[in-house]
Symmetry: C2
Subunit: 145 residues, 2 copies
């Protein structure tokens, strides 16, 4: 029994639970990230750099699905905290190379506790979690930037 407006219900669309879920999970991170004086965006930026050590802003943006206009202030903030360095490339001065500092690598050690603490926050069976993971990446894969 549905009327023609059913498609305009919050429960009819995938986007809404996606949106809500994302925000709720990030909210769960807050107390753990607060200990390190990191925001979620700063955290995933450091995660990307820990995996890659050195990237330019464009590459970072591709990995994180973030605009360079969003990243610039985040990177400046992380630089001011001493976790990374920002330097123009010698080969191509348009590129700004972002590099993890000594202090940034130390942070990684301590940050190991964050995923540990968070792991208990999503109450899905392991198979469900990996299925959710697969579906999300399938959707992401089909979203051309």
């Amino acid at each position: 029994m549905g009327d023609k407006y059913d498609c305009l219900k919050l429960k009819s669309q995938l986007c809404f639970p996606l949106y809500a879920c994302s925000k709720e999970i990030i909210r769960k991170y807050k107390p753990f990230l607060d200990k390190f004086d990191l925001t979620y965006t700063q955290y995933i930026t450091m995660m990307a750099l820990w995996e890659n050590e050195s990237m330019n802003v464009r590459e970072l943006g591709l990995v994180l699905f973030l605009d360079s206009g969003t990243l610039t202030p985040v990177l400046k903030k992380l630089e001011s905290k001493g976790y990374l360095e920002r330097k123009r490339s010698k080969e191509d001065e348009r590129n700004l190379i972002v590099t993890v500092t000594e202090k940034g690598w130390k942070l990684r050690e301590e940050a190991l506790s964050i995923p540990e603490s968070m792991s208990s926050c999503v109450n899905l069976e392991p198979e469900e979690a990996s299925e959710l993971y697969r579906l999300l990446y399938k959707v992401l894969g089909t979203q051309a930037r």
Copy 2:
């Protein structure tokens, strides 16, 4: 073959694809919402009201997973566009009752085209979409506010 830092990789965590997916989908909405001069938050707020006609800010926040501090400016904006009215309740003056106006109901007619246009944007099989939906609501259900 993993080292102790594997858990700090973007690909090891559910939160990151959730976050990225949510943003990408909302970005897909933009061109369709632009036609109505609506933002995504304004759109889901109207959707909640179309389903309920009249709610106070607290109830809206529960439905949308949004803080009242976030909703206040959104509601003022939508009021200024003429889609809703904000009035204090007679019974309990702490409550601000939000009601859809005539113009707000007209908007609903036109907004029917939005989910139509969007439906082609997520390339999942129907079973996959409903499984994703189920998993997201399971995660949401376990997130106590």
